[in-house]
């Protein structure tokens, strides 16, 4: 009995327990509602099914939430420009590869050039955010608001206000399938991003530096850390992630629509960080938590679609579930419940006496 309790305590004390539990609950709802939810079939040599779909669709959110996690951890603020930056990156890629034409079916420049340019632009815009936040000490929300609004304008400038199409099969592969591989490419990209970041955090002191700066930047300075540089790096990295996500987003639809690419995705990215059990005030963080958070958000959307909730009602349901999940993780609520129990106990105790 006490051993069971001990084990239960250990499991519940595990940092990722709550995020995982939330994901599990969202998925389990489907067992009842949509029994076919967990089926995976093979069609034309590729895997199909809701689960594959969730993994696929959540990829760009996962990538964005990685960058967002680091930004939140180091600066205690959020980067609300990631969606707009993705759009700029996508626009740059299609502009270069499509030679600036509205619609084309061959590359006008080597793919690698377009890809690297997109990512470099993402990193550059991230660096701009980092400069404003770390060096100019502007509040993150305000600093990134600049690109949140101006970013789409820049993307419009590049596309000259039009939707640019790039109908090249090779271009569609990043957001679709590589021939002969049964899993969608975005999943691999996302996993690669996670692994590289984890490696960076664990094999260098970067993870410890970021947390130190996020927890106590005065103390961080006195132990020899350069918090300006570290904050700057996280924003630049976040921009880089936005660039990669932008590439996936444009590849999915082989086009760039400056107004709608990655629209509102910054909110989901922030939410993913929160659902992952991370404190939006900065400091200690869990990258995998955010990843789970991102997958949970997508799982929720897919679930609601599978339950035939119409797209315009989707947000209401989503909001309700998000409130529940956040409440479940809130320490304050736990305390209130505990107090309530104590109060009830005291009351009943009195009656007995």
């Amino acid at each position: 009995m006490s051993k069971m309790r001990y084990i239960a305590g250990r499991i519940m004390g595990y940092r990722l327990f709550l995020p995982l539990l939330c994901l599990a609950i969202v998925l389990l709802v489907n067992v009842v509602k949509t029994p076919s939810f967990f089926e995976i079939t093979i069609r034309n040599g590729v895997l199909y099914g809701y689960i594959v779909d969730i993994m696929n669709r959540s990829s760009e959110l996962v990538i964005l939430s990685i960058g967002m996690t680091l930004v939140v951890a180091a600066s205690g603020g959020t980067d609300i420009s990631v969606g707009a930056v993705s759009a700029v990156s996508g626009a740059v890629a299609i502009f270069i590869l499509g030679g600036g034409q509205t619609s084309t079916d061959f590359y006008h420049a080597p793919y690698l050039l377009g890809f690297l340019a997109a990512i470099a632009v993402g990193a550059l815009l991230g660096a701009w955010n980092g400069f404003l936040v770390a060096k100019m000490k502007i509040q993150p929300m305000v600093a990134t608001l600049i690109l949140y609004t101006a970013g789409r304008g820049i993307a419009q400038l590049i596309t000259e206000g039009q939707i640019l199409y790039l109908r090249v099969d090779h271009f569609k592969q990043l957001g679709g399938f590589i021939p002969g591989i049964p899993l969608p490419t975005p999943v691999f990209v996302a996993i690669l991003c996670i692994l590289v970041t984890l490696l960076l955090l664990k094999k260098t002191a970067l993870g410890m530096y970021i947390q130190t700066v996020g927890i106590n930047s005065k103390a961080a300075r006195l132990v020899g850390l350069n918090s300006t540089r570290i904050k700057f790096l996280t924003y630049a990295f976040c921009g880089l992630c936005s660039g990669i996500a932008g590439m996936i987003i444009t590849s999915r639809v082989y086009s760039i629509d400056a107004n709608n690419a990655g629209l509102n995705i910054e909110l989901d990215a922030i939410l993913a960080v929160a659902l992952g059990g991370n404190n939006l005030g900065g400091g200690r963080f869990s990258l995998l938590g955010s990843v789970i958070g991102a997958v949970t958000i997508q799982a929720l959307t897919t679930t609601l679609y599978a339950m035939k909730v119409s797209a315009d009602q989707l947000y209401v349901y989503k909001a309700v579930v998000v409130i529940l999940i956040v409440a479940l993780q809130s320490a304050e609520l736990k305390r209130m419940l505990k107090n309530l129990r104590v109060r009830v106990a005291v009351q009943t105790g009195k009656e007995v006496a």
């Binding site: 260098t204 130190t212 927890i215 006195l222 850390l225 350069n226």
Partner: protein, 509 residues
């Protein structure tokens, strides 16, 4: 009980566990009307926890708390509820809002209102009065962070006192105060005592206990050792009760004094007209290898600021600094660290600990920062280093992977000290290194400082306690009004000469 003193607070059989730690086990505590009651014990004995349990910061598992005028036992679920039950507290770590004004801090949560709005005028006026009563004459409309830790501490006390409490709890309130301020605080405490307030006083300063307290309750390892009347418990016995073994701290100190012969080494650091505008006026100073140089002066005299200017914590804006005879430019602390300096800051909570990081991470972070991002100290080495300092400094922690914020105040201080010892600097600045550290360990640390100096390290020692400085320092610099006013050589060092110099008497210049 005796002299008709009414019991106003009674805690019985209180137990409290943290994961892996029994913080309190079956502890009793009784407070009477109009008494000052010392709560004593080593670092991590459970003093702060007992107070947190009483005031609703932490929950307790078993036991009961009774206060006068209440038939039922009470449970405070928050400090606010405790206040409603007449219990007011100043916690070990100053718990105010640095960016609010002094007045706002004094009246937070109970602001005087006029027509639905905060009545700033009244608030500022009353703040002024409250502080005047304590002889603190400062601008109350300025943000709290502009004042030294000691002033902040006094404001926290003023706030608690003003809540017209029946029980006033002071958890190590004097650790950042100098003698004059302590005296002021004692006057205040005696005054409240006469009004019938019961005061719980946590401190590591034995002299203070014998000066103001009526009774002593001693805790050891979360257990109650006993309750004693001050007159009936001589100092040596008190120390023995706290440590659980015979230990004569005074004798230990004497012994240490005898072998304080240190030959001066060559000049390591030399400052010429170094200054930081607004905090420290230009000063010349030479620091030699193998010496412990003390900085003394009243709070606000610039003693911490002088150290900060050398270390680059506040980047010096004029003057010249030489290390080993070479002119250096220090733009940020990391530059100083690379030149072999280390700095233990005065304000542990704001500038020392990285609260959510583990003990291990807190110890190695400075060394890691010096090595650079890409040369990660291996896990094995990190653990070895950590264990070494947990051992050496007798840090009481359940595990090296515990977040530092869960350690007791004194143990946090030891971790920060360990952080800098691990760095093995040539020049180590210690600003109030023994703050909040218990009697036994305190002498150990003082010995360690002298020992390190003998091995060649240059140490700058800052402390509000003059005796501590006398015990460790071989030379002393005196500061007044943000200005270095002179030096006292070894022969001149004595309680009186220092006090006179600090207060503004003759110093050889």
């Amino acid at each position: 009980m005796e002299q008709g003193n009414k019991v106003i607070l009674m805690m019985r059989h209180i137990s409290k566990n943290f994961p892996g730690v029994v913080a309190l086990s079956n502890v009793d505590f009784t407070l009477r009307e109009g008494e000052i009651h010392a709560l004593m014990g080593e670092n991590g004995a459970g003093k702060s926890t007992l107070i947190k349990v009483l005031t609703g910061v932490e929950e307790f598992e078993t036991g009961e708390i009774r206060v006068i005028d209440r038939k039922e036992p009470i449970i405070n679920r928050s400090p606010h509820e405790a206040q409603e039950n007449g219990i007011s507290t100043v916690y070990q770590e100053v718990n105010l809002c640095p960016n609010l004004t002094v007045a706002e801090n004094l009246f937070i949560g109970r602001e005087p209102m006029k027509r639905g709005m905060i009545d700033w005028k009244t608030m500022n006026k009353r703040s002024k009065e409250i502080l005047m009563n304590l002889d603190i004459d400062i601008d109350v409309a300025v943000a709290l962070e502009n004042y030294s830790l000691a002033i902040q501490q006094m404001i926290a006390i003023a706030r608690a006192v003003d809540m017209s409490a029946k029980v006033l709890i002071l958890d190590e309130p004097t650790s950042s105060l100098d003698d004059n301020e302590v005296e002021k605080l004692f006057q205040l405490m005696r005054h409240l005592k006469d009004k019938g307030v019961g005061i719980i006083f946590v401190t590591h300063f034995l002299e203070q206990v014998y000066e103001v307290c009526d009774r002593i309750t001693v805790l050891r390892n979360g257990k109650l050792v006993g309750e004693y009347e001050v007159e009936k418990l001589p100092r040596v016995q008190l120390v023995a009760k706290m440590m659980g073994k015979d230990y004569d701290d005074l004798a230990a100190i004497k012994k240490q004094n005898d072998n304080q012969e240190i030959g001066l080494g060559e000049v390591l650091i030399s400052a010429e007209q170094l200054s930081h505008s607004g905090t420290i006026k230009p000063f010349d100073l030479k620091i030699h290898k193998g010496e412990v140089i003390g900085l003394s002066g009243l709070l606000g005299s610039g003693r911490s600021e002088l150290a900060r200017a050398i270390y680059g914590a506040d980047k010096a804006d004029a003057g010249e600094l030489k290390v080993n005879g070479k002119k250096v430019l220090i733009g940020a602390p990391i530059d100083a660290m690379k030149l072999g300096m280390g700095y233990l800051p005065e304000n542990r909570k704001e500038e020392g600990i990285i609260a959510d990081l583990t003990v291990r991470e807190n110890i190695i972070i400075a060394l890691q920062a010096k090595r650079g991002m890409f040369r990660l100290i291996s896990k094995k080495e990190q653990e070895e280093f950590t264990d070494k300092y947990i051992d050496l400094l007798k840090i009481k922690t359940a595990d090296r992977e515990v977040p530092i914020k869960q350690l007791s105040g004194g143990n946090q201080q030891k971790v920060i000290l360990g952080r800098w010892l691990l760095n093995n600097p040539d020049f180590l600045i210690l600003d109030e290194p023994t703050r909040g550290i218990d009697v036994g360990t305190k002498t150990e640390i003082q010995k360690l400082v002298v020992q390190l100096a003998r091995e060649g390290m240059a140490i700058m020692f800052i402390s509000s306690e003059v005796e501590e400085m006398l015990r460790t320092c071989s030379r002393m610099v005196v500061l007044r009004d943000r200005c270095m006013v002179g030096e006292l050589e070894k022969e001149q060092l004595g309680q009186d000469s220092i006090m006179r110099a600090i207060a503004g008497g003759a110093v050889n210049e």
